[in-house]
């Protein structure tokens, strides 16, 4: 069972008796999750009404806040809110953002990622704009993000990219001259490694 507002509303709509008869475990689990009570007791019948009343009183409000504060996306400092689309009535801030809202926002234009200071590594996959790659392919050799960034640095190629996607894009955007220079650097490094191995 997922701790969603929709699921909690369904359970609360059943009323105490039916909910306890058919969804006792879920009621207790929701109570434990929403009110951070790891010792909530499903076999303590005397406590069930208290759990139920607490969930009815402000369970949905607290659950909403918990879901929002768990968002993997954070809007950049200095940006008070974002608007889904020009003219849209959907606005969200760091207090109200959810992963779903952020993903919907980014699906409209991946360039909007620049409005976030924090986001999951696989945001492109989440928004459907790109399949996940696990390495950066440079001249038919696979590099981890860390190694690729180090290679660029050592070869004198400036970039702020740190992710697989960013570094791959950087490599693809290099001019022919830059690629040639990087190729020479890679060849030189490989020769040195071979010599030292001998």
């Amino acid at each position: 069972m997922e701790f969603t507002v929709e699921n909690l509303e369904k359970i609360l709509s059943l009323g105490f008796n039916e909910a306890i008869a058919s969804h006792k475990k879920e009621v207790v689990a929701f109570y434990a999750f929403v009110f951070n009570d790891p010792e909530a007791c499903s076999s303590c019948d005397s406590k069930l009404m208290g759990y139920w009343q607490a969930l009815n009183r402000n369970g949905i409000t607290i659950l909403n806040k918990k879901i929002m504060s768990n968002s993997k996306f954070k809007i950049k400092e200095g940006v008070p809110f974002l608007q889904m689309e020009f003219g849209s009535g959907t606005f969200f801030s760091n207090e109200t953002i959810t992963d779903d809202l952020a993903i919907e926002y980014l699906k409209k234009n991946p360039n909007r990622i620049s409005n976030f200071s924090q986001f999951p590594e696989n945001w492109k996959k989440l928004t459907g704009s790109e399949a996940d790659a696990t390495t950066v392919n440079i001249f038919d050799k696979e590099y981890s993000a860390e190694d690729a960034a180090q290679l660029f640095k050592e070869a004198g190629i400036k970039t702020t990219a740190k992710t697989i996607d960013g570094l791959t894009k950087k490599f693809e955007s290099l001019s022919e001259t830059e690629k040639e220079s990087l190729q020479n650097f890679v060849n030189g490094t490989e020769s040195e490694e071979e010599e030292s191995a001998e």
């Binding site: 950049k76 200095g78 940006v79 008070p80 974002l82 608007q83 889904m84 689309e85 020009f86 849209s88 234009n109 991946p110 360039n111 909007r112 990622i113 620049s114 409005n115 986001f119 702020t160 990219a161 740190k162 992710t163 996607d165 960013g166 894009k169 950087k170």
Partner: protein, 200 residues
């Protein structure tokens, strides 16, 4: 009085460390106004004349126009009305030296009605170069103006003189937007990269 008719709130003092310097640098970026993601572009909370993240739509880019000796002629001039709201008229004179079919194809697109936003880099950049970039035509766009002299083959070394400006009958609500994303280096990198948002 409507609340949007503001009173001034700060001194505008002469800054000995930021003396005025005329002119602009030799590169401007022209953006098709329709390519701007207006919802995603952000402005400074304290200063509504400062763009803090200029976001283009997916796949869009700006287009560079180069000159020599700072020969661009940008301007922003107040438009004072007797019976309507005041505003600003933006204008940008561009001297196109290239005489190729490709350059003329772009000139024709502008004359045919392209609606553009121009990003220019001023010579006077302020402390930490924070005031370097100006954005003209944000709200209405810049379009080919009757002030364009075109190409008179024996004059101006044969350059094509094209002026894009706020269309007649329209006004921009702001004298200018400044543009700064984090710092000058970050902003300049994006400017040099056709305004494409770099991958994080």
């Amino acid at each position: 009085m409507a609340e949007c008719i503001n009173k001034i709130t700060e001194n505008i003092e002469f800054d000995c460390d930021d003396k005025p310097i005329a002119g602009v640098e030799n590169q401007i970026e022209l953006i098709n106004r329709d390519d701007i993601d207006l919802a995603a572009t952000t402005f400074d909370v304290a200063n509504p004349n400062l763009i803090t993240n200029l976001v283009l739509k997916e796949g869009a880019q700006s287009y560079r126009c180069d000159t020599i000796k700072g020969l661009f002629a940008p301007s922003t001039v107040p438009s004072i009305e007797d019976e309507s709201i005041n505003g600003h008229v933006h204008s940008l004179g561009i001297r196109i030296f290239k005489n190729s079919p490709a350059a003329h194809a772009q000139i024709d697109k502008i004359v045919d009605g392209a609606n553009l936003v121009a990003v220019i880099e001023a010579k006077q950049k302020g402390a930490n170069n924070a005031n370097a970039f100006d954005v003209l035509g944000w709200h209405v766009g810049l379009e080919a103006s009757a002030d364009s002299a075109g190409r008179v083959y024996r004059e101006q070394d044969g350059a094509y003189l094209l002026t894009i400006a706020t269309p007649n009958g329209y006004k921009e609500p702001k004298s200018v937007y400044k543009w700064l994303e984090t710092d000058y280096a970050t902003t300049k990198e994006k400017f040099d990269n056709s305004m494409v948002t770099p991958d994080p």
